[in-house]
Symmetry: D2
């Protein structure tokens, strides 16, 4: 912490501020300039609200300099984290694509969509069984039935499964079916949930809240990491701005920033980030070009009949074309998007 004293603050005011800081448990270094004094303040085991310093007489401004997160910081693991889920490596050279329907609706829908995304190169099936909805009057998901459909669909096509958990009480049931827990943007600061996931033994895909700063997002990751679960995947999905043309403004610049600040893999969700099907492909390409470790995309065999989020859901043919474009882009930054041989055969036959 750096405490900037006002121009012309008296020596007594500076002494009082220093004394106060020392009482709070900090060590203080004075830097006396021509016009003002600056205090370098160090310490971690501190009593009381550090913002109190702002209210001391003669203090102009207090600047916090340590990142408040520790385990999420790149300094903690400079080489970056690779998360292993069976044969899928998240955070390595391969750009990993998770795809599937917004919600599980039926066995047929899940199986057909899982097959389509697998053939195009996805490695993980996404799909919701518990849905957080702004309105109590909207479709809320099929619950455990939906989870079973998703597990069956994933297994039939050799995919891993990611699915959302809305509440600590759902961790047990979602964990029985899914390989990766998803925490939605609205729950990014549901600290009770994050703490419980810190005790879980499966990776957590943590979406950024729509008005969360990158620092707050990394602090939320810290709740999970601090519980002993080091497998957190960050996922940018759009922030709230004044622009109303899209639902949210997908913050592509968060990708290089997170890469610098943290060792955790970063994904992008271009479906929720834009809210419009025709904007998903350009933003997915942009995310990979900017260095994202992966994507999570809504695809449905019949999006016009989807029970939720159909407007932002891709047709399988659109998803195929996007994956082909991404295979051109990824090498520009030393990445790849793999397709297994057997799958390519199946794709050729279609």
């Amino acid at each position: 912490m750096v405490v900037v004293m006002q121009e012309g603050a008296s020596a007594e005011a500076v002494d009082r501020a220093v004394a106060r800081l020392e009482v709070m448990g900090f060590a203080v270094h004075r830097s006396i300039g021509a016009n003002r004094t600056i205090l370098g303040v160090v310490g971690t085991d501190v009593k009381g609200d550090p913002r109190l310093v702002e209210t001391l007489e003669g203090v102009q401004e207090v600047v916090h300099i340590s990142e408040p997160y520790k385990l999420a910081s790149r300094a903690f693991r400079p080489s970056g984290t690779i998360i292993i889920v069976g044969d899928v490596r998240i955070g390595g050279d391969e750009v990993i694509v998770m795809a599937g329907p917004c919600s599980a609706e039926s066995d047929e829908q899940v199986h057909a969509t899982a097959g389509a995304v697998k053939r195009a190169g996805a490695k993980v099936l996404r799909g919701g069984a518990f849905k957080p909805r702004s309105s109590p009057y909207a479709f809320q998901g099929l619950g455990e039935d939906g989870l079973r459909m998703l597990r069956d669909g994933a297994d039939a096509h050799n995919l891993k499964l990611v699915s959302e958990v809305m509440d600590a009480s759902q961790i047990e049931v979602v964990g029985r079916y899914a390989d990766i827990f998803q925490v939605g943007a609205r729950n990014m600061q549901n600290f009770s949930l994050l703490r419980e996931l810190g005790r879980a033994r499966k990776p957590v895909l943590l979406k950024r809240g729509i008005s969360a700063t990158i620092e707050e997002w990394l602090l939320s990751a810290e709740y999970v990491l601090g519980g002993g679960n080091m497998d957190v995947i960050l996922c940018e999905r759009g922030i709230r701005t004044f622009e109303t043309y899209t639902r949210n403004t997908l913050d592509i610049s968060a990708i290089p920033i997170v890469k610098k600040l943290s060792h955790l893999p970063i994904f992008v969700d271009p479906s929720h980030g834009t809210g419009r099907r025709d904007k998903v492909a350009p933003m997915a390409r942009a995310a990979v070009a900017a260095g994202a470790d992966g994507l999570i995309i809504e695809v449905h065999v019949d999006p016009d009949r989807a029970l939720s989020d159909g407007a932002q859901t891709m047709f399988p043919s659109q998803f195929d074309r996007l994956m082909a474009e991404l295979r051109i882009i990824a090498p520009a930054i030393g990445r790849s998007i793999c397709v297994e041989p057997v799958v390519r055969r199946g794709w050729g036959v279609q």
Copy 2:
């Protein structure tokens, strides 16, 4: 819903859009202009994602016109809601002030603060026992011990008690001590929690999320109201903007807007809204002048030693002066801020 077709959309495209809307369960009225056709679309019992309409060929824009909330709408109860908590009437002519420490820390701290705010005219004691903190390394509250201290302090000074509940699992214990449940800004869209509070038999003070639109806020209230609990108090506490001088930008204009859209009482929290002690009084005065039904303010007998939020917490003497100013302002809009005779006497004696 109004569907605006593109200029020059073909008659066939219009027919297809109408057919599609009818399949989805809507009734459609066509309005054919010189340049384009507009469809008036009515219906409530709808299958699928209404945003899908945006992706139909020839559709330029879809505009939603019904407020998606029903029970929270002023139309539902045009005269406004008054919430009765013992002898305190929230939403009536009297501006109700809730005040107290950020967190319960000790019996002495709670009692002294409760006495001070009571003497100045507060009717409800505020204080946290479970604290949501962005950082896992910050003080997290005293739990049930804190609740007991707060209940004792409130009883000793004839105050009601409001305290935060962070998770459905805490409803039972908080409900044993508090008169009003508080839902924090970060939990405004914790739908599991809201749904459970809909079954509770005590009022809920629902803070606005820092990036929540007024519509989303009223939809969150709808979750509680829909469960049968009609006693919801809305509380504005600042929204996130580009301005960094204050922690948040207190949205005073939300007061007249909510008054028009909803029958629910609206409070303002100038402490969290500004994050700085010297800004609390001006914003509290502004809130009352703009028509707020009440305030919730952080006061502490020794804010410089508070374990959390000290920087935004008022001294009792500042709170006294603020209450005196508010007593001048309230009559300008036909409101009052009462003080019980016995209390005024006690105050004089000090």
Copy 3:
């Protein structure tokens, strides 16, 4: 400026950073902590881009601490600025209200409106002759004819006149008629215009840009002050946020902040800040309660026929009621809103 080195930055990296800063013309004080070094950096006569320091090896963060404005800072004139325009004192104990139509439309409209606002207690007539409009197809004002109407209307009712200047080329003509130049929000960073107004001999009412930080706003004032014109009135008129219910979010908290940072008077424009007539009065009351030095409000004798901004323009009767409410509120913060005796008589006769 404070330069925070990374944890574990080498002594050589620190030396190189210090050497570089000294080449740029800064004096540097080192503060060596257990984990990292902090450099206190002082200097004003600097070559090159100070942000370059951020890119030096081993530097984690650079924090700027001097306010970049000098003449606008409260330190420059701690007692506050009072601007004298004839018998009107702006920035003193009296809250000054400027009111009138958005645009001058006709002699009748201007005279009737000027009379109405004078009777209610306004001291300055507002009205536009040159109008900045987002769309090239909207009404652009009457130009010099409009200025003449406004001057006549102001003189007939013993009011001062404020009117907008959009471009340096209009300063001469607007200056022939108006007592105070208004700079609109869109021109807050039109530095050519600001520089020219620095040479003008009349006060400047400088509106805050809709996305301007308070620091940028004070820097724009600095352009005018730096040219020798010390009579700048700041005017908050709403900032752009994610909330779409109002056109802008009026930032009431800017009032106490500006009061602390600067000696310049601060006004509020609740008409443009809300864009809706029924929100003007609550926000005007809030502004005065929060400590604003004055208001600028759109009033029109027949707002439903106004050529611009009618939706946010008050009827004279609404304005009368508002002024009566403000007279109750102002004393709460030691201010007044005066009415001259002769005017009150005229008002009674109506």
Copy 4:
């Protein structure tokens, strides 16, 4: 325009609203639903403020549906605009890169930088001679001397030249040297300047204001187009959001949106959009992957000694590498980034 009446608005209120709209010059179509009436309102030659309709009795909401811009709309020129500047075609298959220093500082600096960017594949030299600066105390550019340096540097390396014009009074002098006028973000709504540029006979690169909606941006383009100058290039350069880690949030999603709404070419400025050198390349790649028609990038042979914006300026070697990456990405979306043979040779020799 669609006027949504309140639920239960009386037939008389509807009649009065219709009458009022007809007086204002609109044609009105009624759409009577079970719960409410919707009015489809058509007309262009309208008297008074259309927002007034919002204040009519019984009206709940007014929705504007025509884009208020005409000439900037894609409907006006569905195939898209290609702007010809000598042998450079902007808006065609080739992604055009403009590059150069923030400001002209010396003949040597300009020549060396121009040569470097030409060899890497840039087609247009960028460089400022008149600089808008938030602070009156910052470097303001070399004026006409700087323009001459830039013209010489561009000619020596067969590049076109883009340079900023801050004020209508500078159009003549900038036009004598530059091939393309640049309008900065702060001047996006300087309507006097835009109107004059509408009469100029050279293309205009119009940057988006940092808080401008896409609609406002297209309306500003409309000012230029309406004056007869159809050669407008739009340029996204970051919007202001709550996130403070970067100076602005580069809105990559604006690219596909503008492509849909307008026929005008869209460029991206990743240097100002991020403010940090190490973020420029990822965002430049993202912009091309999302479909941008071109980029404008700050490059300097010695950025650490640049007089302005050095922190966001690339070294020539970084720019080379970026251009190589872009050549891989562009084909993914059917675009190219050309290099003339002679230039490639020269590059090899270095």
